[in-house]
Amino acid sequence: MIPAAFEYSRATSVKQAVAQLGAAGPEGKVIAGGQSLLPLMRLRLSQPTYLVDVNGVRELDYIHPDGQFLRVGAMSRHVTLARSEVVRAQLPLLAEMASQVGDAQVRTRGTLGGVFAHADAAGDYPTLAVMLDATVVTDRRRIPAREFFQHLFTTALESDELVCEVVFPIARGPHRYLKFRRRLYDWAIVGAAVQQLDSGWRVGLTHMGPTPVRATGVEERLSAGAAPPEACAAAADGLEPPSDVRASAAYRRHLAQVLTRRALEQAA
């Protein structure tokens, strides 16, 4: 299967990428790692008329600790995040998630910025960003993660706007990310992430709705002194997860509770 024809240009700076996107018009798209976009293009589910390749934008390939924050450049590859000593020391949950994205081949190419811009409901990093109140930095503004993800494959980005960086708070405490999938390389049917901060536990869920969610009900129960089995009962409260070929909504609610409990019990 060959993608529909499109025009293509390479950018080597943020400025150039934004200019090329502007010239491309609303049917233009950014290609970074392409690990989600190219399969969609080959199935002709996506037919951009113009691709701006940002793989040459070296200024977006960095990982910088900055005070209480970890600034991660959009062109950071999954394999880099998984192995980075800085990430493993300052935000180990991000490294843990990165090591479980797709498979080894996908992790070679796929990027952090691509995951955010693509906004698949089953994406892993968005859950971390929402539960920790991370900030998405674009070429023109800063967007809180909880406002960035608006719906399935829909973000706050303008058509010519580029994700440049994600700013996560540093978190070195106990954490775990568990995702349930039928095949090792597959997307999460449901995922549960837990991170202990000085202020208490943060709990996030993947694929329990069109955007990642923070399981505040679980967090509140934990703050009140509840043990994981009791706290996790609130994991799916108020959520309406999708039913699809992989799992029914009821099964997803069950998974959210079980994975949250296990993640809390295994957090280290």
Partner: protein
């Protein structure tokens, strides 16, 4: 409109005119004539098309050829010197790590990337390292055995060519 792609494939520098929508796997097979890299699932899942891009494993069906600009690509044909076999090729043969063989080039390239970083992988590490590759005939026991045998041979420096 076709653009110029400059890339090194199995040690040979090339310059070709390539349409943007040409995937790397089709460039390798149809322009370079290297048909050892297979198109399997066509949906970026099976890993039969795995090649090394600057030493790292990628699914060549999931990359535009133009995105390989300036890179060094190694395909199954370039893993061993002409006429020889890489220890992984020998091991897949000797340990019967295949049945129909369609997935084999991808498995060997993914395993080559794994062994470049881990000279003595455990069963678990082999499973994780090859998670992006599917075999629909033989199962994975002999594949795992072959990777272990190759790792052993490479540690012992037994890379003497077989066959050819």
């Amino acid at each position: 409109m076709a653009e110029t792609l400059r890339v090194t494939v199995n040690g040979e520098g090339r310059s070709d005119q390539v349409e943007p929508r040409v995937l790397l796997v089709h460039y390798l097979r149809e322009v370079c004539g290297l048909t050892g890299t297979h198109v399997g699932c066509d949906t970026s899942q099976c890993g039969a098309c795995t090649v090394l891009l600057d030493g790292a494993p990628v699914k060549s069906c999931n990359m535009l050829a133009l995105q390989a600009e300036g890179a060094e690509i190694t395909t199954i044909e370039g893993l061993a010197p002409p006429g020889g076999l890489h220890p992984l090729q020998t091991a897949f043969w000797q340990e019967h790590g295949l049945q129909c063989g369609y997935c084999t080039p991808g498995f060997i390239m993914a395993a080559a990337a794994l062994l470049a970083e881990n000279h003595d992988p455990s069963d678990e590490e082999i499973g994780r390292g090859l998670e992006g590759n599917l075999c629909r005939c033989t199962g994975y026991v002999n594949i795992r055995r072959a990777v272990k045998a190759a790792a052993r041979a490479m540690r012992e420096g037994e890379s003497a060519p077989v066959g050819g």
